[in-house]
Subunit: 213 residues, 2 copies
């Protein structure tokens, strides 16, 4: 069996489906609407991927073209609307994504796995710079939230994912700062690694005890 193995998995497809719940649109309009509503922090909106995604949704019968209009002599725009299947699957998909956490692999985690390679000073320096960037990002995002939800222009529920992201970044910032502090006062020890015939040996920087792996 080689066709339609699993559903469309790109989250951008979820965004498309979500927008089409409200109103029929052509792809370019989807992209600009997502940007207007600041949903481009939750979905990677790339024009190439967008058109691919729309085609995939058509193939799966979740959406369908309803109109092919042209304005003046601009290129033709194909307008899409969800099918009944698409409307049902949208809700099921959101439910599944919320209900079941899946493994993800943020690049920061990958980098932190090899934090040792930077040495204590290098690591503290890099983490400190990251903390600064995170502060900026958090402030900017908070400002957007204040302008929209804070002023009553948009109901809070419609931007709840921004609060979620903000919470996650704040947690990352806390961890980053805490780790800088722990490097500074030696609570996070930097073992010295040596190669021996037995394998690897490390000695703790503070007490000189060695262990083997």
């Amino acid at each position: 069996m080689l066709m339609a193995r699993r559903k469309v998995s790109n989250p951008l497809a979820l965004a498309v489906l979500g927008l089409l719940q409200e109103q029929s649109m052509h792809p370019y309009e989807m992209a600009s609407t997502l940007r207007e509503r600041h949903k481009d922090g939750s979905f990677k909106v790339n024009s190439g991927s967008l058109y691919d995604t729309v085609e995939a949704l058509v193939r799966h019968g979740w959406i369908e073209p309803v109109e092919t209009a042209r304005d003046g002599r601009r290129p033709e725009r194909t307008v899409y609307a969800p099918t009944e299947l698409g409307q049902a699957e949208f809700v099921r998909w959101v439910d599944e994504l919320v209900r079941t956490p899946i493994a993800e692999y943020p690049k920061f985690l990958a980098a932190v796995s090899y934090l040792g390679a930077l040495g204590p000073d290098g690591a503290a320096d890099a983490l400190t710079e990251r903390a600064g960037h995170l502060v900026q990002r958090i402030e900017q995002t908070q400002a957007v939230l204040d302008e929209t939800v804070g002023s009553g222009a948009v109901p809070r529920l419609f931007m709840i994912e921004v609060e979620c992201a903000l919470h996650a970044w704040q947690a990352e910032l806390d961890w980053t700062r805490r780790t800088v502090a722990e490097i500074g006062d030696g609570r996070l020890a930097w073992p010295r690694v040596e190669r021996t015939e037995q394998g690897w040996t490390w000695s703790a920087a503070d007490d000189g005890n060695g262990s083997e792996r």
Copy 2:
């Protein structure tokens, strides 16, 4: 200009480079070593991607084959070692990844963007189930940490990324529980959306005031 546009970007390449800092290996051994050391929570270790990644690293001159051994009549294994360039770039890459946060798009964020589609009860239910899964994941991961670092078998620095992940999951769990609570007591209102000729109108569930977007 169409070749070698940017560096290898798959984090798995970082893992490969990291392992080869210690010791020459063949790809299969990389995969099993990563699993042994519980690094497979930070890197998506997929055999297909692994072989592609190793080839890409060779193309860029970051690693090179050093030996082609065969054991008994098993298929030949090609053993790789980093070049000097690869050793230098490894550190630079870790530094860059730690220093500069980049935009990422976790699927949970995508789903939360459309939390409204589940309705207050559906959303609370789904979030509650997620919280349960997160608790399990956190407990299991904590247990692994206790067995390894807790028992002194491995220095803390070598599993620091596990602490980082744990911190992030805990934050997600906190947000999830808080949101369930806010749905429950009405602090997170569910506006009723209606379509009008003007566009969209929503009325707050609690006070009946409408606003326009």
